[in-house]
Symmetry: D3
Subunit: 169 residues, 6 copies
């Protein structure tokens, strides 16, 4: 019932009988882990302009400032949101946005770090997703056709499986 | 301080002074609202095969079954996750998956409904995102290069702004 | 995908294709709903005595007072804890304890009420369970052998399926 | 066990036997409710200057921008945080800050509104408290001696007990 | 105010003055901890048959699959639900169901593990309770008379108080 | 993007570009940390009397007993409530109340401890705030004019910045 090996399929979120579990990491070393996730949201040119040049009454950057906080708060909720994720104490979270003026896109990069027994890929990816959803929420009065694109892991460091980098386009 | 009009920029999540708020919907009618969101995740051919044909020990469909529950649970957390979202009591949530065998993609469709004063677009989109993140989590032992794509609203019904449909494809 | 009928098996938490969903209650009337749940915990005679007669330094009734608050707080979390439960605004929660001196048992009765589209059976049952777990937690330094027993619905009122009473005892 | 009258002491969070409960509001009308809460935080002159004039690298207003989001998010968690509070769907939340240059204080005003069976005093007060705690958190690297002061209700509207205004100042 | 000894009554969730606290475990070693909890739910023969033999449209095991996820998610919420529980990072959670065809009962076994300063008994027991409540929720359209029975600790390992096993019937 | 130094302004919750982040503590030692926070609430003489001498039907001390639990539960939610706070496992929480009969005030003292990489000032302060808000909630049927005052840090121990004590009174 509590075998620590994964099953034959290579899916370690299932035990030897194929039932979901939260995999045993008790025997693993607590080491430094890092993950960087990326995602973007495609805006119409008008929405992109509204984001970049809000009317005078509105402080620049508020949409992204709020999305940054949402990304940080969301990343901290990862183990509540993703059923088989282990809870772990994040030691660092950084959220950066870049605007692509030619393609009308906002890019988000989330870096998560911990010293723990499991990786922080899901924390970085969840933060990126919640950040982009928050941008959608705050701009949807102008345009409901925005599309969240390309949420993915860029790199991870640490852990038994070692370092990993995405093959970029 | 509590004016109910949006500001000059058309961004109704900011008040007349450009500060973020949770917009006043107290005067709005509680009507039937519906939103349908879509998203997909691109898998490698090997990961797609593992999802479709788990070894005998593993019950078919568990990955998607768990992702469905995560999507439902995540949608219910929307107002905690998205800072300026109003809390509202969902009356219906449906999550459907389809597998695209030729493109190695899993598609998720989330339908959210309520009888309330605000729309449920964010609930549907959040559910879709959490569902796809859960698929990533459960398959990432095989492949970390999966990409979440095209999370967007397909349609909404109800509310003062009326019905809306995405221009496909 | 969004049919409002339950499936052939009579299990309304699954749609016509047998997939889990949060059933559509949008068309239902918001009516007064009430549910009463019961549960008990069996203590050793020594633990029961410690609960009833704490040393002078300890105010009487604190264990039950804390369990009462935990039951109330837990009932409010029901839709986060039970995957297919609808969120609903409870209008009343009452938690009562009785001590059975001859059988060394603590009984909990939780009454939940709302004006809503779905029943509050799960809120009452969840409150009872969390209350009993809290009693266990606070007394487990004395005895780990306590047993939570007979958590069940005693009665419900309101809703399309009408009133229901458990056949006692 | 479920009498809807409060007890002899006038404390309606206790039933006729003096036990805590979440008071029955099922019979009350859902009417428009509003509450305004205020609070402030006293800073040293140096900390106040750092808040007002962050170095060039730092966008103006970020501390308050983040505190505003925390206040909004915190207000939405009120019924989870305050044991005997009813859950209710806020229809509006507004958070405003003013800076008192002569007294080195930041004032927060939180306005909460709903259409519901209970008031939103606790939502406004909780939002104000969380907003001020967030200011403390973000400035505590400079000064740990900041003091949160005068968190109180300024006014409420609606409900059976009618309107109420604090005697100022 | 912060004495680390328990009070005269042996109830370590109360300090020397009999007030509830979250007991000080800072001085304890972080060691491997394990707990196994059990519980069951009694079904009518008809409900048991519906669980075992859902109509063709319904994938086998979905009720239990969803209850498994709910048990895992619930166990992770233990320190939010049980007032005096310490938060701790679970390193492993396993949930197993067995069906007793002759007695029409579903049994749940939850194994929780951590490397930490306190035990995981409450995590295992909370997981078992939430799993059983979820089964009740999903089958209650057929029968509201199901009874949750015998939620208790089977064994624990690790910690200063050492190993413990329930005396079984 | 992930520099571990704080920015020029001395506000370490912002990175070198002035954007909010959850500061990197991965390189810090996990050491014993302690913080003590204080706050008070000013009552009218009538409300103070009701708190001290509830009618016979009401058990003495319940208001404070419930506020104590709320303070403990609230402190455990700190990293969810305060956006840039790190999650950390509290090892000890103690909540003490004192009544000032001459000034009609209730004082709360919250002591939080952990063995971790960051301090627990925010946990102690959040616990104090939630405890006082809960007292307000339970007495507001008698008087809405109560004022929460002087929520502040009294002392902290441990961490790189060393010990700190507030200048009293």
């Amino acid at each position: 019932m509590t075998a620590t090996t994964s099953n034959a399929s290579g899916l370690n979120h299932f035990d030897a009988e194929g039932q979901a579990w939260m995999v045993d990491v008790g025997h693993k070393q607590a080491t430094h882990r890092k993950a960087v996730a990326h995602g973007s949201i495609a805006l119409s040119s008008a929405t992109f302009a509204a984001l970049k040049n809000p009317k005078e009454a509105s402080p620049k950057g508020d949409v992204l400032g709020i999305a940054r906080i949402a990304a940080i708060q969301g990343a901290k909720q990862t183990s509540s949101l993703i059923p088989l994720c282990h809870p772990l104490p994040l030691t660092h979270l950084n959220v950066a946005f870049t605007l692509d003026d030619s393609a009308y896109r906002v890019h988000i990069h989330v870096t998560a770090q911990t010293v723990g027994k499991t990786g922080v890929e899901m924390e970085a990816l969840t933060g990126a997703s919640i950040g982009l959803l928050t941008i959608y929420d705050m701009l949807k009065a102008i345009d409901k056709g925005m599309v969240i694109e390309q949420v993915r892991l860029l790199e991870k460091e640490g852990g038994k499986s070692g370092d990993w980098k995405a093959i970029t386009p």
